[in-house]
Symmetry: D2
Subunit: 406 residues, 4 copies
């Protein structure tokens, strides 16, 4: 890259930085200071914390090592806003994030402005070195992930309130396709899976380390539904007694169902004989055509068994993503797969401080593919691996059916 190219790249990165950071603030804007402070369960984080933690990420991994003379906004923030990086030192306990009434929302805004100014200066001029640009891009991808979590977590927090307040009364869910699912023949034989990394032949652009290396996998003949399971289809499962029949469930799933009292997807409520669902727009009538969401892996697995089908593996999902007629639904729901979240063959975590980003979570979780209505546009891709424990329900998680070919 010559100086001119680098300068153009730098300008592009600076603009992207500004846009991503502004989007976070826009997402938080409808929330009061109180809304932004609350933590509704240990797995969720306050909106204010998301805003500060993403800022800490740039401060810690970009500015401190790479911006000469950078002065930390507040030395105490390293303790408060480190999420899980052992190499970055001790940190505030995750389940206690909701205790942080201070720093206030206003001071977190100051923190963001301080870091944004330093980042703008760093990105100005001839542009950062390629390694630094990759770090900045990682910080932006990281912030986009937290944008989804911010929405996911605030929906959970507001759902704890008997008043059922809306995040945004004018919120519009994306339109869902009508009509029955159609079945597509999935690719079989040896397929290429995973991301080749920046500049690589397949994909190019950014990828997380957990999507690499690109490698070959062997698929047996199979078929896949062209779209996710809908609320209407889920209602049929529910009304057929799906939540009462242990033989449909994994043993752990049935135990979770009983312990938690699951009778329907999270956020569903029955009032006066009608099913409603709590959404970012408040409590609304259930749309039978929309993809079902907020179901755990256990529920998705039980549904598939009831339907005489199964969940696709993550390799199958990825291989099918390019098929004509395959609606990825990445603006609707993440789709549980039958695959445990484990490293790809030949996986190597990133080097250095960000090496803890993904690798240490590769146990006890199931992979989801697709994307959701809370995912920032352009963030997901067919090789993207999302992952949560099989009992998690507060994500925008649904399912798609698959089956073995005869």
């Amino acid at each position: 890259m010559n100086a001119s190219d680098r300068s153009a790249a730098a300008a592009g990165l600076a603009a992207r930085y500004a846009a991503v950071r502004a989007r976070t603030e826009a997402l938080a804007a409808p929330l009061s200071a109180e809304d932004q402070c609350v933590q509704s369960m240990p797995d969720a984080s306050p909106a204010k914390w998301h805003r500060a933690h993403t800022t800490w990420f740039f401060e810690t991994f970009v500015l401190v090592p790479h911006a000469p003379g950078y002065a930390a906004f507040d030395p105490a923030f390293a303790f408060l806003f480190n999420s899980y990086y052992e190499a970055a030192g001790p940190r505030h306990a995750r389940p206690r994030r909701g205790m942080l009434t201070r720093p206030s929302c206003a001071r977190v805004a100051d923190y963001r402005a301080h870091v944004d100014a330093a980042m703008a200066a760093l990105l100005d001029g001839a542009g950062p070195a390629p390694g630094l640009a990759a770090l900045v891009e990682l910080g932006l991808q990281h912030e986009e992930q937290h944008q989804e979590l911010l929405l996911t977590d605030i929906l959970h927090a507001l759902a704890q309130n008997p008043l059922r307040p809306a995040y945004d009364p004018d919120w519009r869910d994306p339109a869902a396709p009508e009509g029955p699912a159609r079945w597509l023949d999935g690719p079989a034989g040896i397929v290429e899976i995973g991301h080749a990394g920046p500049g690589g032949a397949a994909g190019g652009g950014f990828a997380f380390d957990n999507e690499t290396p690109r490698h070959r996998a062997l698929l047996a003949p199979w078929r896949v539904a062209d779209r996710p399971v809908t609320n209407g289809e889920w209602l049929a499962f529910l009304e057929a007694g799906g939540y009462r029949e242990p033989l449909l469930w994994m043993a752990d799933g049935w135990a979770a169902r009983q312990a938690e009292g699951w009778e329907a997807p999270l956020y569903w409520e029955r009032r006066d004989g009608a099913w409603l669902a709590f959404t970012l727009g408040g409590l609304r009538p259930l749309d039978p055509a929309a993809p079902v969401r907020h179901v755990s892996w256990y529920e998705a697995d039980a549904f598939a068994r009831w339907a005489g089908k199964r969940l696709p593996t993550e390799q199958e999902w990825e291989a099918a993503a390019g098929l004509p007629g395959f609606l990825a639904a990445d603006g609707h729901v993440w789709q549980w797969t039958g695959s445990a979240y484990r490293p790809y063959p030949g996986f190597r975590p990133w080097e250095g401080a960000v090496g803890e980003y993904n690798g240490k979570f590769m146990i006890g979780q199931m992979v989801l593919r697709g994307g959701s209505l809370a995912t920032p546009p352009g963030h997901a891709r067919p090789t993207y691996r999302n992952f949560f424990p099989p009992g998690a329900r507060w994500q925008f998680s649904g399912l798609r059916l698959a089956e073995d070919a005869a």
Copy 2:
């Protein structure tokens, strides 16, 4: 009471109402909306909740039954802000009060203004009937109790923050007497205990039902310290290994000490070899002359045993309250007694909806006497019975020593 007297009484009550309500708002004023929303443990409540619940008390027990045409501010608030009155209907779960980011602080202020206006109208003119005046006075006493809890709970909430933010950086603790404790001979033989009720011979004025009926008790010869145990004295206990010697402790207390890891009173921190204590003014050096506070009954009991003394019973404490030289310390710390919180002989709860106020808590708790730096001036009296479980430490709780006379 003639019309003129009633009018004067009504004016007095209206003025007192206004003053008490204003004091609550003044106590909450240093707190941000975030500070007011947080709940640091199930036993504590958010400041905003205290402000709303005390308002609900007037709305529910005074305005709805006694103010013709009163329109509830928001029907949903009855569910949100009922504390524990079974007779007043279902209510939001206590440990979930911190989830209520809405109604906002501002809307709670509106709620208070709405109720205050209706109360002012009700108290205006010829004045309320005597029964109603008593209910209003109960509401004010209730609000004063919550004023203390508001300070107690916010101290606990702020203590969860690694930044150790002050409620009020200019906060001044009351001055404590210097010098060693002196021992007073306690009253012995038959003494009169408890409150005679409004207009009664002993005391007069307001009393809670748990202070009644006034009755006789028999005391053996005993002695009592003229003032509470100090931080300096507690430090001697600590340094003598008091927290390491199980033989000094009740079995339940030792189990609590081990389970909770108690090594010093709550809020004490050792930094660079010096003891500090977190206070409403922030983290400050320990004042050896000040009464020790934030100790559980278990700790107080162990300290007394180590000192070769015991805690006074609540009857002893009350009987000694009038002795020359007895510093009640009711502006410093509540003092644990050796008495379990049980009904007095002949006790009858109040009639009607407020009958749940005290009686149903008369098990599993120990009585404290005195008052604290967080108690509103004039709120406590010698017959006043405060009570908490023996493991509670977040109250402004200390102790005073007693002993049997030879």
Copy 3:
């Protein structure tokens, strides 16, 4: 005491020792090795453990300090069979007693024989010194307490078995008086309470330290039922909705009822429309005339409130024990009182290693008076203070009603 008197006293003590020890073995005789090993909850102990612990008590507090040349049966047993004596060294965790499949029942029998032989030798001849005789008597009283616990705990253990096996199919409960309760005027004014200690004017004979010192108490006029509440009376409470009405209950009691799902006394079962109760003789039809048992303090308190009465205080109970017509029912059920278990005025624990016997449990528990069908004959007395937490139900615990006199 001259030599002849001492010899006679020694022979008496040796005979009593043999009788008490034999009674323990007789109580354990119907139990298999498996029955004797199981621990059904942390608060209960295996029968085998009771047999070994009572033996350890003699070994530790009598033989080791007082029998020259005594050789411990197995040094490891001090760790296994110390219950809660901090001064006697570390010990096996209480909730893990059921893990001790070894030593076997047979080896515990050997342990008992070993200690019995050494005790016989010690008690032989001229007789022990008076202090030693008191220690031996304490050991026997201690063993009698464990005889009751052995029956109480095995009933609980067998109740966990869906087969509902009987401890003794031929077990006979004591006969209960028929007919309605009669009300007696209780003693009022100043009464003497407590035990004067061995050789004292009131009582004489053995007493635990918690029954001392004898002291004066002041009682207001009151009345007491001549007998405990019956199963039939309890059934009326149950059928009147007593388990569904929160206003009858203490707040803690209602919470316990909901958390534990209490719908009837422990061991009651409804089958084919009839109430049965699991007893030492197995599952049997409920006897309406028999005193209700296996109720918690919370339930007893709620029943009394429903009946418009109250529980007597322990002082009242003791003062009434000598009234004509007062059936102590000490062969039927322990009777919950309204008194928290706290030290008497002037209480001093025993000196030395047995000082932990009672004193350290004087918090968080309520006093029961009387005795039960599981109490060894002659063990209890009117000054006897039994005590358990208010939620305990597995004891043979019932209640008696009292009320204030007009």
Copy 4:
């Protein structure tokens, strides 16, 4: 199969039945009635329960449906000894198995004899139909699995005893190979995985449904150690601080390590500077050359990372099992793999009542391959899939290292 062949097969099956059943009794023989009754944790079962449950399996799935006129030994046993078969009706709660002091060991022996007699009659003569023979074989394989569990669980139970009693003081662990591990090139490319089922081309003989169907998998180039990791190698990890360095661990593993206080493999104890391990033969010096055992998947994974290696996948392990020089160590330790326990492509659970055998556990667990010193000889095979949650340590579980080929 003609009549003569069937008769011979039947005689063979009857003999095998007798041998397997006798082996169970031989394994239980060193245990007292008390030993056989105890349950040391919810995941473990009493030895007596293993003996009864395996008998229930034959009674429920073979005798009741296939032996005309068979009379159940005791109808209550269906409730007591059903493990997890929803289709077979309700059952005693798993964590409460240790409460079953009755039926006694002796009665369980009677139960076994009753069922054995009925089975002998059923297997006598012309021999069972092929489908029935398969069910009987399943029952025997099932009993062999419980033989391993019986040893595994009793080791855990005896380890709870401070006396550290031996299951068998003369127990001899199998000899382990000496010397450093050697690295073998693993098979790469497309390999055949899984069992073809009875009579199939690869394997033949019995297999569990979870080993089927046989299918193709694709392996990248890799290498594998010829033997499991040893105690001596584990000691180097421990001494290098492996249990103190969070960066070596999965996040869930580190959390488990901290919550459980893991500092070494389960059953290791350090006394007087030397490491001992509790074994079926009691507490013994650690053998550095023996395969390490009783480590969780989390520990195994951390060890591999520390060593710069990884765990093999289950497909890799199976493909390598036939390599020259590969010591399967199936008489020593099960070896954790990097594979989550999920169904093979095309998996179908068995039909009918035994369909719950394996399939409903295919989530949240990791696969182990090999076999252990507690596995009955001849029970395991290269396609065998054992599985446990990643935190389980009480199994005879170790690990083998693998690595990617350059």
